[in-house]
Every structure is written in structure tokens, then in C-alpha cells.
């Protein structure tokens, strides 16, 4: 059973004028088919306006599909009765770290989710402890979120989601507002959750470097899934990615250019080490 199954998913943003007449219809998702297995680390790539955030918001039922079907954890999202179950099992981390922290103390913010779903007090404390530890923020539990760095705030936000014990975490451009250090911090925290706790991760981004470690990559453009495969499969198609106005990681690009110049190295090189090995063969 797939954790997420989208079939011909369509979402239209309808803009209305003051009288409520339809001014224009914008098709943000256009027949998206996606399958994600439990425990996978899946990256969704695309430049601005490709529909990747709209897709993410469907997974948490913040938006409902206009057409098509979407099952999350075996539950149909168009059924209102499943709403809280789905939100509990598919946690979401957003872009702006400041705008998703609710309480003025770190531990109280992490406790917010469990409080909402009615977890008993002792259990909340246990979960807050565990999830703060799992993102390495336990020592900051009594701090005010305002004094933390961007990367630390995002880790608190992840802990807040973890405390609800979801099966899946969706990170909607969670690193877009962070500096390189913060980005690395958040990415490694998420990878650890994926490897150690088997949490399904859906990582939405437009930074190419971040998707190298993913199990599978979906590339979206103009509301459609245009490419799908392992990072290596995706990055061996440098020309196609350029057409989609996406940057390729520097190392991959260098390897590609070298290959074009006639050097005998394979396509889809992802890391510096691989390139060194290929060159020194």
C-alpha cells in the first residue's frame, strides 16, 4: 500500500472580481500522478509557480482537489471525516520559521500539536522530550524562539510536527529562508528522522544540491510532473533540466561539460568524490 497515491490530481485557483464573477482560472495542478511508499525520502523539485507548493498543501488537506483523487495513508482526502486523521499523520513544515511557531517557549510550541489532538499530559511531556532530542534541540527547551537562529527555529518546527507522531513529514521549502549552515542543519535532521525512525519525508525545494540524498525525485513544471526517477537518473539529463530552467549541481554540470568535451566519464555524477574517482580511473 502506498502512503500517498495521487491520480490525475487537478487544482484550479479561481480568481473572482468584486461581484463574484469568475475573472480567470489558473490551473496550478494539471493531472498529477504521484506514488510514495512508506519510509521513502522523496524530493519534489520545480521552480517558482510549478505547482509544487500547491501539491504539498493537498497532502495536508489545506487545499482540496478540484478534480482527481488523492489518498493519504489509505484515506481519501475528499472525505471530510478523514481530515484530522490525515493532518495528524502527514505533518507539515512551512517556509517562514517565524510564522509557524505559536508559543513563546520552545517546549510549549512543541507541545502545541499533541495538545490539539488530545494527548494526555504525561504523554505530551514524553513526546516533547523525545522529539526535541531527535532534532538535537533538547538543551534549548526553555528558550524563547525569538533568540534562535533560522535553522534552529526550523528544527523546533520539525520537532513540533514529530511530537504528533506522524508517519510522514512534508517540508514545503523549509530551507528557502535559511543560510547554507541552517540548510545543512535542517536537511541532516530530516535525514536522521528518515533513517532512524522510518518517517516518510517529502522534501519540496528548488535547491538542487538538497535532493542528491533523496531516494526518488519528482520534477514539476507548470502543474505537471515532467520527470521522475532517482537523483542519478534525473541529473543525467542535464539538457532537459536546463530546458525546465532548473540548475544542476555544480559537480554534475562540470562532469557533463567534461563529457561533452569528449572525456570518458559516465553521466549523472553527483558528488565530488564520484567525479574524482571517474577522472582517476
Amino acid at each position: 500500500m502506498n502512503f500517498i497515491e495521487a491520480r490525475k490530481l487537478v487544482h484550479e485557483y479561481i480568481h473572482r472580481d468584486d461581484e463574484g464573477n469568475v475573472e480567470s482560472v489558473q490551473r496550478a495542478l494539471d493531472g498529477v500522478d504521484v506514488d510514495i511508499r512508506p519510509g521513502e525520502f522523496v524530493a519534489v523539485l520545480g521552480h517558482n509557480g510549478s505547482g509544487k507548493s500547491t501539491f504539498a498543501k493537498h497532502l495536508n488537506v489545506l487545499l482540496s482537489p478540484t478534480e482527481g483523487t488523492l489518498w493519504v495513508d489509505g484515506k481519501d482526502v475528499s472525505d471530510e471525516g478523514n481530515l484530522w486523521d490525515i493532518r495528524k499523520n502527514a505533518g507539515m513544515v512551512f517556509q517562514n520559521p517565524d510564522n509557524q511557531i505559536i508559543a513563546s517557549v520552545v517546549e510549549e510550541d512543541v507541545g502545541f500539536g499533541p495538545e490539539n489532538i488530545g494527548v494526555p499530559t504525561d504523554e505530551i511531556w514524553k513526546r516533547v522530550d523525545q522529539s526535541l532530542r531527535s532534532v538535537g534541540m533538547l538543551e534549548y527547551r526553555e528558550h524563547s524562539p525569538n533568540r534562535l537562529s533560522g535553522g534552529q527555529k526550523q528544527r523546533v518546527a520539525i520537532a513540533g510536527v514529530m511530537a504528533m507522531e506522524p508517519k510522514c513529514i512534508i517540508l514545503d521549502e523549509a530551507t528557502a529562508m535559511l543560510d547554507p549552515n541552517g540548510r545543512r542543519e535542517v536537511l541532516s535532521a530530516v535525514q536522521e528522522l528518515n533513517e532512524k525512525k522510518g518517517v516518510t519525508i517529502i522534501w519540496i525545494t528548488h535547491y538542487m544540491e538538497e535532493v542528491i540524498k533523496a531516494d526518488r525525485v519528482y520534477v514539476m513544471d507548470e502543474g505537471k510532473v515532467v520527470m521522475e526517477g532517482t537523483p542519478r537518473e534525473i541529473f543525467s539529463q542535464v539538457e532537459r533540466l536546463k530546458e525546465l530552467r532548473l540548475d544542476v549541481p555544480q559537480i554534475t554540470l562540470l562532469a557533463h561539460e567534461l563529457r561533452q568535451e569528449g572525456l570518458d566519464i559516465p553521466e549523472g555524477i553527483l558528488t565530488r568524490q564520484e567525479l574524482v574517482n571517474a577522472l582517476c580511473r
Binding site: N60, L62, W84, R87, K88, G91, M92, F94, N96, D98, N99, Q100, I101, I102, A103, S104, V105, E107, E108, G111, F112, G113, P114, E115, N116, I117, G118, V119, P120, T121, I124, W125, V128, P145, N146, G160, V161, M164
Partner: protein, 267 residues
């Protein structure tokens, strides 16, 4: 300018008063404020002073720190005292030009001033020893019965705590916008009051827009974390009465009884 706002300031210390349940402190404040307007003579005044300073001493907040808080109300204090001094009819003591000072005037000016000072000191002990979160929690719990008459107590408390969380963020944002606008030639310093107020527009418009954007983001983040109002919600830090809270209730009630007794007995 913005750093002078001291509402909800918390003075961390390890004292009995700090550890009291916020509900006790709210209840005590209410009774204390009422009691201030009950006493009429020196005996009642003495009792209230004793209660107040005992409270301050127990809280371990330095008195100088509290007196600083009084500076903000000096103007109100002086105006109240002057009105009472000149406008109370009675036995004339001094008379010059259109002013007349009466014996009753002096008495009521002094009592009014003392009442105001005691009021501010008493309430600031509570805000200084209680974190804003505890205060909202206490309010939510003690106003709980109002839910029955359809007052959304939980929502109001939630709004208060979110507002407190966003104060520093919005202050920072204001400074940022201010700098950005100064860099483009905006002038926040010169001119009279009306001109200054007009000059605030390029500061306030972006601030409001950004605040609304933050509000939508936050609402979405809260929904994504299963927030659906106070119903079926558990508490991470539930308020539980301890022995000392019972004692505190008793002390406050004894004090109120004392004030009433003094009012009735001492002439």
C-alpha cells in the same frame, strides 16, 4: 521608543509568590483593588500597606524596581491629586485668586494618591512575578464558566498569547522597515505632531501588510497542526492547585475581612 514598553515584564526569581498559581494571584489582585476603595481611615491604610509590603517582600522583587514602574503614572497621579485638592468643598484653609484649599480636599487628595500608588504597586507585583503565559492560562481557567454564556474564553486567551509572542517580531520588523524607509529618504524626526503622524504612513502601511501576511501563514500552520479550537484539547502544563495556593487564598480572605472589620469598628 518601543523599548520603553514594560507591560507584561517578568522579573525572574525563585520566590513563593512566583510559584503561586496564577488564578490565586488574579483573585488576590481583584480583592486587593476592591479593598483599596473600602478603607477610609489610617487603620485601614496601615493594614493595606502591611499587606502590600509583605507581598512585595515575599516576592523578592527589589522595591527600587517597582518604584521605577511608578514613574509612568506620575502625571496621572499629580492631576488626580490636584483635582481633589482644589475641587473638594468643605472647611476652607487657604484661599488665593480663584483657588480654595479645604481640609477635606487635602485629605481626599492624599488618600487618592495613596490608593493609586498602592494600586499600581500591587498589580505590578503580580505582573512582575507571573509570566505572560501563566497569566493567560490563569485567565482562561478562571473565566472558564463564561463559556456557558457563549464567550469564547479559550480563543481570547489564545489570541492574547499569540499577540505576546509576536510583539518582539513586529518590533524588529518595525525597525527594519524604518531603516529601509530612511534609506529612501523618509523623515521620521522633524516637523510638528501632525507632520510626524503623516510621516508614519510609509511605516505603518508595510507593517500592516506584513502583519496580515504573517497572520494567514500562522493560521495555516496552526491548522496543519490540527488546531480546532478549545474543544477536546489537553494541556501540556495544566494548572493544579497546591497547598500553598490554599494558604494564599486564606491569607487574602483574612486580609479582606480585616479591612472590612477596620472600616466598621475604627471611627
Amino acid at each position: 521608543m518601543l523599548r520603553d514598553i514594560t507591560i507584561g515584564q517578568y522579573y525572574p526569581a525563585d520566590s513563593v509568590i512566583h510559584k503561586l498559581d496564577p488564578r490565586v494571584k488574579l483573585f488576590a489582585t481583584l480583592l486587593y483593588v476592591v479593598s483599596l476603595f473600602l478603607f477610609k481611615n489610617w487603620a485601614g491604610f496601615l493594614l493595606a500597606a502591611l499587606f502590600l509590603f509583605g507581598f512585595i517582600w515575599l516576592s523578592r522583587v527589589p522595591v527600587s524596581y517597582m518604584v521605577k514602574g511608578l514613574r509612568t503614572i506620575v502625571v496621572i497621579l499629580v492631576i488626580t491629586a490636584l483635582f481633589n485638592l482644589f475641587l473638594t468643598p468643605g472647611e476652607t484653609l487657604v484661599e488665593f485668586w480663584i483657588f480654595r484649599i479645604t481640609r477635606e480636599g487635602i485629605v481626599s487628595a492624599v488618600t487618592m494618591a495613596v490608593r493609586l500608588i498602592f494600586l499600581i504597586l500591587g498589580t505590578s507585583v503580580v505582573t512582575l512575578t507571573t509570566t505572560p503565559n501563566q497569566l493567560t492560562d490563569g485567565l482562561e481557567k478562571s473565566l472558564g464558566p463564561l463559556n456557558k454564556i457563549r464567550i469564547p474564553v479559550h480563543e481570547i486567551a489564545m489570541m492574547m498569547s499569540i499577540a505576546l509572542r509576536f510583539v518582539p517580531i513586529l518590533v524588529e520588523e518595525t525597525n527594519k522597515i524604518m531603516k529601509a524607509q530612511i534609506a529612501r529618504g523618509a523623515d521620521f524626526e522633524s516637523g510638528n505632531i501632525i507632520k510626524k503622524a503623516k510621516n508614519m504612513i510609509p511605516l505603518l502601511v508595510p507593517l500592516f501588510i506584513s502583519a496580515f501576511r504573517r497572520a494567514t501563514d500562522l493560521a495555516m500552520a496552526m491548522e496543519a497542526r490540527c488546531y480546532h479550537g478549545g474543544e477536546g484539547r489537553t494541556k501540556m502544563k495544566p494548572l493544579k492547585y497546591k497547598k500553598r495556593d490554599g494558604v494564599a487564598y486564606l491569607v487574602v480572605l483574612v486580609y479582606l475581612a480585616g479591612i472590612i472589620l477596620v472600616r466598621v469598628l475604627v471611627k
